[in-house]
Symmetry: C2
Subunit: 198 residues, 2 copies
Amino acid sequence: MKASVLFSGGKDSSLSAILLDRFFDVELITCNFSILPIREVAQEAAAELGFSHKMLKLDNEIMENAFNIIVKDGYPKNAINYIHHKAVETLASDESVNIIADGIRRDDRVPLLTDPQIRSIEDRHGIHYICPLRGYGRAAVNMLVKQYLIIEEGLSDEVLKADYETELREVIRQRIGQDKISGMFPSHIQSRVTGRVK
Amino acid sequence: MKASVLFSGGKDSSLSAILLDRFFDVELITCNFSILPIREVAQEAAAELGFSHKMLKLDNEIMENAFNIIVKDGYPKNAINYIHHKAVETLASDESVNIIADGIRRDDRVPLLTDPQIRSIEDRHGIHYICPLRGYGRAAVNMLVKQYLIIEEGLSDEVLKADYETELREVIRQRIGQDKISGMFPSHIQSRVTGRVK
């Protein structure tokens, strides 16, 4: 049975794929808007992990709406949640997709689908949405990451990740300037997977 | 690394153990109050699954307090949550335990530890508390159960399970009579594992 794992090239989505590997045919899916060359970043990490990988192009309208949300809000939470929700909807509407896996941890707050959003997507599209790390805290995730993955860590403006935030930041840079980014996005540590411990 | 999996002989705790099998040395732990012969039920299911198994005797005082809670409330939620919390605390205080795994699903409401309770237990005892099925809905769990387990299902007063509810019901039967049980406990479907699909 195929499981389509939302894949950013980071440690949480990579570990989710590894946890599912024995039970499903894992296919990594990286959503993007063709704004930055994140295809290469994602493909390289997927190859290191040894999983098959696909890109999923999201509608430009989604990024337009997300841009409007973050400009109005001044912080990224709702914009990122909005993109994430639309990404899961887009993937769920693919006829060949039956199981969507998402790398959300116990302590994640963004991006996060609500329980009614999850049930609605599952019911309308007849799919299963699963989060293999939802019952793992940060320390337990790090313990497993150490055992199974080789990662590179850095601040979010230094590590190019294949996630929505990276492209949303780029849109803001292009349209309203580099100096607006640090005011809107709190700086945080990002991880990128560079290898798998066999 | 050893993972101590709370084990009732039902499908959720069994599937949790199977999901962790590749990443940890799984040991099944069945908590009990020596009120009913649930040791045999749990041991038999554990042997079918092929995992090592231990019983953990909980303090009688915990059952006394739970009995008082359910008699006062008239329904089991708080009493079961109380026993569950004390069971995790008891297991966490064992020096040889570093990882506790619990078979809670996405849609479970009882028993359930709150986020502050989880963080408190993890911090005080220096352990990881993980719920491998926390990000799985009922339908996704059933899909995996079908693939990996052979189960027997029946109403809660027909299937002898190795869980707190079974012994709490027995205490009520002994002290205030069989006819009080159905008023306090909603009847629901229980599962018991009788084999593993290899």
